[in-house]
């Protein structure tokens, strides 16, 4: 049941993110990318399966049993991904602001659609 909720959560985040990604306004795209990065981070994290109460911090260092700990590898991947996604948001935000200043519109193509 928990797995199902987790899976649906990733789905809802993805759907909202993709919807915003396809919108014409730069701010919508930036918000969409944030939501998508949550979804992708959860997705990668989920590849190590869901464990409760088993953080990958060693307690007994003499006899290490890998079965006692959650998979650390996806966590290591996601940790750097979180920081990098901040960098990406920052870069995109600045490009967005510069584009708004230069083109006079916040449309992703730098000009309004001909309706």
């Amino acid at each position: 049941m928990m797995e199902l909720i987790f899976a649906l959560a990733v789905g809802v985040l993805t759907a909202s993110g993709v919807w915003l990604l396809l919108r014409p306004r730069t701010f919508q795209v930036i918000i969409g990318l944030s939501l998508l990065s949550y979804a992708v981070n959860l997705f990668i994290f989920g590849m190590g399966r869901l464990r409760i109460g088993a953080p990958p911090v060693l307690e007994n260092v003499e006899a290490v049993d890998p079965a006692l700990y959650a998979d650390p590898l996806p966590q290591a991947l996601v940790l750097t991904a979180i920081v990098i996604s901040f960098a990406m948001t920052a870069l995109f935000l600045v490009v967005l602001l510069a584009s708004r200043g230069l083109t006079g519109t916040d449309h992703v193509d730098g000009r309004e659609d001909a309706r």
Partner: protein
């Protein structure tokens, strides 16, 4: 190897000389010419000394191992034939260098010219002496490249640029065909070694790949040697300086094609396909070139078409496939090089002295430059095939061969007549060259009086004409042994008997010669009237211009086709691109589902917890709400995204990922600050009633399609995640990390050990990315022009300032300064607390959740809070944060930690750890990974703070709008001051 060294030197010297020439001063005309002449002379002398080894049929080899693991060697070989060609390249190279010293104007960048010329010489020698076919093609393309640079030497001249581009396009395309042909040849033979290829002629001719190989190799050779229908580039290459025309476009580079045909003659010739393709190309080029040459008005144009025609003659001879014809081809290659190079040089002198090459304007020059005129006349007579000159001998051989029967066909039967016709044409254009330029009334409209050139400029012509005469009169005493060596190298046991005597008695070839000579003279006499009219281009074919076809093809392919392809398949708009990308991903993910179906795994479910369900109901609503609000209510959308982020963060805690939760929470905070700072410069979108109504049916359709796409993507992700989560976890590399984290990395927090130790190199890459992004953001913001609407102070600040202005006891800015006083004091007091938390997170990171990333973000929060509390000016008056230095020092720290391992002989970023026993504190882990983590910490602090401060600083600048809406009359400040 002792015998190989001279060969290597012959090829390497010109390249070294070229490199040296590039470093000479712009005006070092003498130095560069001396260098080029000396290099060419050295090459010639070195080549000459190899004669005893190759003269008796020996083959010299030199091998330099290049990539031994791939079996690739740089290999050179020299036999009698290639010896003769090297002599030609270096000998004429020397004469051209001498000539160019006087020809080039001191105003031009002469060292560059000689650098190109020497590099070309090296490339040409590379072709001639290559012992490996791939290597040969490499040098082949190099000659095309240097020919391009030399034709375009006067690059301010449009015709030079066009000619250079055309020559490069044609010959380099041919070179690519040649490469494929050579690859096929190597595939058939099983080796690219020239000796092996030359020995497997039967194997190649019997192969099913023979025809494609032949066609591709011929495409390379025929384009290079300017054979019909690829001949059109050569006349346009005449825009090059004349020494280049003499060297590349008559004596050497255009000979590369016939050189290759001769070299591969034992392998490829002797079949019907060879006969028909090569003979047809050669014959049509011979006739067409000679015919067009008669009607050229440009002196160099005449010589260029004559070159095309003579190359056609050589190609034709090679195509006949008989050994005697091959002898004639080799002999004529040498003869043509001597007389044509001297004619080009003479044309260059005439151009130099009279400033024109137009035959219509030139006449009667004999009286001004008798010596040059005499020399040119002798060379032109050799070109026409007059007895007692070298051209006569090879032409006789050609006539004899044309009269012979080879492959019984109409083409073969008609050859003698075509041969006589072409020969008559060549007599006619030679006569035109002599008569039109040197005889007749003195020229009238020349800019200056012509006179003889300096002696050393004429010397190369004198030498070459002397060779023409000596070979023509005393062939047995001069050229015979060298020619014999060359012929034996190509033909081997097939070497036929041939005689180089001038007089063979009254026979068929002599009769043909007499007819051709007489016919040529009569033809020229008949054409006098037509030629006097001075019409451009040959009659009948004036409208057929290879150049125009070439350019049309070029425009068609590289412009029209490219444009229409882009129009059909491309879009400059982001939305369709993203839509396609998402749709493609959905389809790509659905495909395996459709093929194999999907089933739920067997892993036991976790016990249901209603709190988690509630949590994600909130999280899902936040996400959907953010998606709904992002267009008009940005702040709300941002808050809702933050909500979804928090729920994600709690999920990490729930499922045993404390490190992720900490990092996510902290990054959430800085992202919010970042977007808030950004929103200040993003003008509001105001929702109007018309927005909803005016949405047309197309927009509605588009939204419906996007919604479907989004739902499909979300549902697909859910499906994949659920299918994965219900399967048991297979054994992965993670086991290794868990088991060795403490034993080898000295840390209990496995995630942190992976980041700073096992996968330290990846982390190093990531912090570099972070630093790069931060610096990019910083530099983008340095020239930032905000939207005109957001230049003014924010609304709230305007209200505050207006209030201050209205009160007599307040001055503008007072309210702003007092705004949120208590929270800002709390924030100031929090600084040391948060700082200590950062240090704590950092120190415990190796054993407990925390680490460099989390600590770095915490520290940057501490700093940015001070900016928010006191304002930028207040803070920077008290504390100078230097984020670029933090970033740089952090990168250096991480890199040096990694390099430190190399000092002790370990690979980059190997970590070392030890437990230190400190008094009072007790046992403390001291891993070198901690230093690396310190670097990570500093980079994260620096990058995050740099981005945030750069944005915050925008409020301090006097912002200038990107595009002033309308020109506003500015008060004249200078006048006021005065």
């Amino acid at each position: 190897m002792s015998s190989g060294l001279p060969l290597l030197a012959i090829v390497a010297l010109p390249f070294i000389g070229s490199l040296v020439a590039t470093f000479l001063r712009q005006d070092a005309r003498n130095g560069a010419a001396f260098l080029a002449g000396a290099v060419a002379l050295c090459g010639a002398i070195l080549t000459a000394f190899q004669y005893p080894a190759v003269g008796r049929g020996g083959v010299l080899h030199a091998t330099l191992s290049w990539i031994p693991t791939l079996g690739l060697d740089f290999s050179l070989r020299m036999d009698g034939f290639t010896w003769l060609f090297s002599m030609l390249v270096t000998g004429i190279g020397f004469l051209v260098a001498l000539y160019a010293r006087y020809y080039m104007s001191p105003a031009d960048p002469v060292p560059r010219f000689f650098a190109f010329l020497l590099a070309f010489m090296g490339a040409m020698l590379g072709i001639v002496l290559s012992g490996n076919l791939i290597q040969l093609v490499f040098f082949w393309e190099l000659t095309s490249l240097f020919s391009f640079l030399l034709i375009g030497y006067w690059h301010h001249n449009a015709s030079a640029r066009d000619g250079a581009r055309m020559a490069l396009t044609v010959t380099a395309t041919g070179g690519l065909c040649l490469l494929v042909g050579v690859l096929l040849l190597g595939h058939i033979v099983g080796s690219y070694d020239l000796d092996k290829v030359l020995a497997s002629g039967d194997l190649v001719r019997d192969s099913s790949l023979y025809l494609p190989t032949l066609i591709l190799v011929l495409l390379g050779a025929l384009t290079k040697s300017a054979q019909f229908p690829f001949h059109f580039w050569l006349p346009h290459a005449m825009a090059a300086p004349t020494p280049v025309s003499a060297y590349l476009h008559s004596a050497t580079m255009v000979k590369a094609g016939v050189f290759l045909l001769t070299l591969l003659w034992p392998v490829l010739s002797g079949t019907e396909a060879w006969f028909y393709i090569v003979v047809t190309a050669g014959l049509s080029t011979l006739l067409l070139g000679a015919y067009s040459a008669i009607f050229q008005q440009d002196l160099k144009g005449l010589l260029a078409y004559s070159t095309i025609s003579h190359l056609g003659l050589i190609t034709l001879l090679l195509g006949l496939g008989s050994p005697l014809a091959a002898v004639a081809a080799i002999f004529h290659t040498m003869n043509h090089a001597t007389f044509k190079a001297s004619l080009f040089m003479a044309a260059g002198i005439i151009d130099h002295e009279t400033s024109t090459r137009d035959i219509r304007r030139l006449s009667g020059l004999f009286r001004f430059m008798p010596i040059t005129a005499t020399l040119a006349m002798v060379a032109a007579a050799a070109m026409a095939g007059v007895p007692l000159l070298n051209g006569f001998l090879s032409k006789e051989m050609f006539f004899a061969e044309a009269a012979e029967s080879h492959v019984d066909s109409l083409l073969d039967d008609s050859l003698p007549y075509f041969a006589m016709l072409a020969s008559a044409f060549s007599v006619a254009y030679s006569l035109r060259f002599i008569h039109g330029v040197f005889f007749g009334p003195p020229p009238t409209d020349l800019p200056r009086t012509p006179h003889e050139p300096p002696h050393w400029m004429r010397f190369p012509i004198e030498l070459l004409v002397l060779v023409c005469l000596l070979v023509g009169i005393l062939p047995a005493m001069t050229i015979k042994p060298f020619l014999a060596a060359a012929v034996r190298a190509v033909l081997g046991p097939e070497t036929p008997y041939y005689s180089l005597a001038i007089w063979h008695g009254f026979n068929e070839p002599l009769l043909m010669s007499v007819i051709a000579l007489a016919g040529g003279i009569i033809l020229y006499w008949l054409l006098q009237g037509y030629l006097a009219k001075g019409i451009e281009g040959p009659p009948l074919m004036r409208r057929l211009k290879g150049q125009r076809i070439f350019e049309r093809v070029l425009v068609e392919v590289s412009w029209r086709w490219a444009r229409s392809l882009e129009r059909v398949f491309g879009t400059q708009r982001l939305q369709p691109q993203l839509r396609l990308l998402v749709a493609f991903s959905v389809v790509a993910a659905l495909w395996p589902l459709y093929r194999h179906g999907i089933e739920v795994g067997s892993r036991p479910d976790l016990a249901f917890d209603p709190a988690f369900l509630l949590l994600w109901i909130v999280g899902g609503l936040c996400a959907i709400g953010a998606a709904h609000q992002a267009k008009f209510h940005r702040l709300a959308a941002m808050v809702l995204v933050g909500g979804a982020g928090l729920v994600t963060c709690i999920t990490f805690v729930w499922f045993s990922a404390p490190d992720l939760a900490i990092t996510q929470l902290l990054v959430e905070i800085v992202t919010t600050v970042l977007i808030l700072l950004g929103l200040r410069w993003l003008p509001k979108r105001i929702e109007t009633a018309s927005d909803d109504l005016s949405m047309g049916i197309r927009a509605r359709m588009r939204r419906a399609r996007d919604l479907m796409l989004a739902v499909a993507a979300g549902a697909g992700m859910s499906l994949i995640v659920y299918a994965m989560l219900t399967r048991p976890l297979p054994d992965t590399v993670s086991r290794y990390f868990v088991e060795n984290a403490y034993a080898e990395g000295g840390g209990r927090n496995i995630v942190n050990v992976i980041l700073v130790d096992f996968r330290g190199f990846d982390t190093f890459g990531e912090i570099v990315v972070l630093a790069v992004v931060a610096v990019t953001v910083f530099s983008l913001l340095r020239r930032f022009r905000p939207a005109p609407e957001s230049v003014e102070a924010p609304e709230q600040q305007q209200v505050q300032d207006a209030y201050d202005k209205a009160q007599p006891d307040r001055s503008v800015g007072d309210t702003l300064a007092d705004y949120l006083t208590i929270p800002s004091i709390i924030m100031q007091w929090l600084f040391p607390v948060i700082g200590i938390v950062a240090v704590y997170l950092f120190l415990r990171g190796h054993d407990l959740p925390g680490g460099g990333f989390a600590a770095g973000v915490t520290m940057s929060i501490a700093l940015i809070l001070q900016y928010m509390a006191g304002g930028t000016r207040w803070l920077e008056a008290r504390l100078r944060v230097l984020p670029i230095r933090w970033t740089g020092l952090g990168l250096l720290c991480a890199a040096f930690t990694g390099l430190g391992a190399m000092v002790f002989g370990y690979p980059f970023l190997t970590s070392y750890f030890q437990y230190l026993d400190l008094p009072v504190i007790g046992k403390v882990p001291a891993a070198s990974a901690l230093l690396f983590d310190l670097g990570v910490f500093a980079v994260v602090v620096g990058a995050t703070v740099l981005v945030l401060i750069a944005l915050a600083h925008q409020s301090l600048r006097v912002p200038r709008a990107a595009r002033p809406p309308a020109p506003v009359a500015t008060p004249d400040l200078t006048k006021e001051n005065a």
